[in-house]
Structures are given as C-alpha cells and as structure tokens.
Assembly symmetry: C2
Homo-oligomer: 189 residues x 2
C-alpha cells in the first residue's frame, strides 16, 4: 500500500540562512568590538556547521575568532521518569574562559536544557565575563528560562514536528517535518 510521503517544509533556504548569519555576525561585531577575548563554542553536532558559517562572516568583518566545541548528550538514568539528564562528552575550549566573552552556537533552541548544560560546561572551565547564545532557529517550547541573544528565525513549531538543518557543502538550509520521518541523509563524504 502506498502512503503519502511525510510532508517536509522548507523553513529557511540557503540564501536566508546566509543572509541571517551575516546579520548575526554584524550584531556580534557591534556588541563585542574591542573585546580581546571573544570566542565561539559550538554545540556538537548541530552547532558546528552553523558556527563555521558564522565564523566565515566574522572573519570577513572582524578578523579571526577562535572556535571551540562542546559535546552534550542526554541520558535517562531512571526508567520511572521521562526527563533525561545531560551528559558532557569530549569538549575543546580554545584558550582561557576567564574574563572572556563566549558565544554558544547551536542550530535549534527548543527546551533550553542543552543550553543550560552548555552554560554549566563553559563555566566549569573558568569564569567568563559574559556568555551569549546564537541559534539558527528558536522554535519555542522552552522548559527553562533561557533565551538566545542572536536568532536567525523565530518560529513556533508544533511538538510533533522536528526541525532539521541540512548541510550541503558550505550551504545550510532548514526544514521541518513530522517526528518519525527519516533523518536527512548526512552529506556524502
């Protein structure tokens, strides 16, 4: 029996992503001009292509900015509760966090639990003067009082929909589709 394919909606095409990240890079430069100790920390894995594109624009506007990564996954330690705990994987922080301005970069902001774990992880490395958050999509649905400082697109996405960032070469786009749909195949090597 044939079923209709799950509907996939294009939320941001690569041009919209590029334009949005260029705007965000401009906002970052404006706010942090003259800061000696500014760096990005990308949340693995979704934040990495976003941070990489953002760095291209920052380099053009301001010069090189270091990038680190954090690896945050969630595990369930107790079958009786549905709420997972964050687990920190291998992280890579480029230089001293002490007194720095850190911009955490992720693809999608949803419940805020990943970002809360990322803030804690950054602060485990030292005491930054400021931590900000940049995301491609703020999809609503927060469970913690976390906000992004830089957002390419705010849009309320129903709980039964997933937001996927599609990476093709240097181009990113964003689609929404029902949970349970097959993942976007990873880029061919």
């Amino acid at each position: 029996m044939l079923t209709n394919p799950a509907p996939m909606n294009l939320l941001l095409d690569s041009e919209a992503v590029n334009r949005g990240l260029r705007r965000v890079a401009g906002e970052i430069v404006e706010r942090h001009r003259g800061t000696r100790n500014l760096f990005l920390v990308a949340v693995r894995r979704g934040g990495i292509p976003v941070a990489t594109r953002l760095l291209d624009w920052l380099n053009e506007l301001e010069g090189p900015v270091p990038m680190g990564t954090l690896d945050i996954t969630f595990y369930r330690d107790d079958a009786a509760t549905a709420l997972p705990n964050p687990r920190l994987g291998p992280s890579d922080i480029p230089g001293s966090v002490e007194g720095s301005h850190v911009i955490i970069v992720d693809d999608v902001l949803y419940t805020g639990r990943t970002i809360r774990a990322a803030i804690d992880a950054v602060m485990d490395y030292g005491r930054p003067q400021r931590i900000e958050l940049a995301v491609l999509v703020d999809r609503g649905g927060r469970e913690l009082p976390i906000q992004a400082d830089y957002v390419v697109r705010h849009v309320d996405i129903p709980q039964d929909q997933r937001v996927d960032v599609v990476s093709r070469g240097n181009e990113l786009s964003v689609v929404t589709q029902p949970f349970g749909s097959p993942s976007i195949p990873p880029e061919a090597p």
Copy 2:
C-alpha cells in the same frame, strides 16, 4: 558643605506593582491551569515580598499554591578576578520537584547569575518538568542568556544605578538611585 541628595526616582508605585502582579498571576494561571504540581520558589531576600504578593493574587484566582525559598549569595574566591561565585544558603523546597512546574520569583533580573544559580539549585532537588522565571523588574544588563517568562516592568537602567524594592506593610514599590546611596531602611518591626 551641603550636597544635593542623591536623586531617587520612583519606577513603580504600589498601585503599578499590584496591577502588574495581578496580571502576572493571571498569565501564570492561564499557562498552568490543571497542573497539579505547581509551586513558587522565591529567591531570598528580595524575591520573598514579591512572591508573597503574587501568591495573594494566585490564591484569589486559583487556590493555594505552595512557596519555597532559595538563599543565594555570591562570594569571591580569588582576589585576581572580579567575578563572584554563587554560594547556596539554606533552602526550603515545598514538596517534590520531580515532574513539577516551578516558578522562580525574584525582585530584579540583572546579570542572570543569581537565576542561573537558582535553576541549578532547584535541579539539585530533582528534575522539574518546567522552570519559569517571574520578576518585578527586568533592568537589562544580562551576562548570561537568561530570560524572564513574566515581567512587571522592562526598563534599561544604567550600570551606575541601583534598583530597590521598598516594602511597606503589604505594599511594594520600586525606586532607582545611584549606587552608593544609602539603602532604603528596612520596614520598622
């Protein structure tokens, strides 16, 4: 020699505070209607009179809601850095945090560091389904990507100004004045 007294500006009179907290209570009831496990957690000491007034309105609209308290102070462990660390004092959480909806209540939202410590403190007691934040004044100046869900007044206050909540009997008002001004005397016993 006479000097001019430090200028003190009334930001919210008691009527504005009352009206604002009644609105916030309505928003809380609307969002959490039917939640069995909702409670407030006031940040000592400034959050307590705010949470107490808020509870009056919640009781009127919805029935009794339990209130707990968190005691968060900051200490400097290292003379070389200016950034203090949070220290958690005696806390009092009314019931199980597991699966609950917790609303942290404070008087003024500024850098976000107190609230970040409060979120961590609540999560030390268990895994709430949702944590929200209610404040009387969001004065801007954030150093962490924290936002309030319920705010009586958003206003950008210059760094050299302090925001004080004045409590007289059951009435609260909010003033701003330069740092270094004498504190508002506490209510007479």
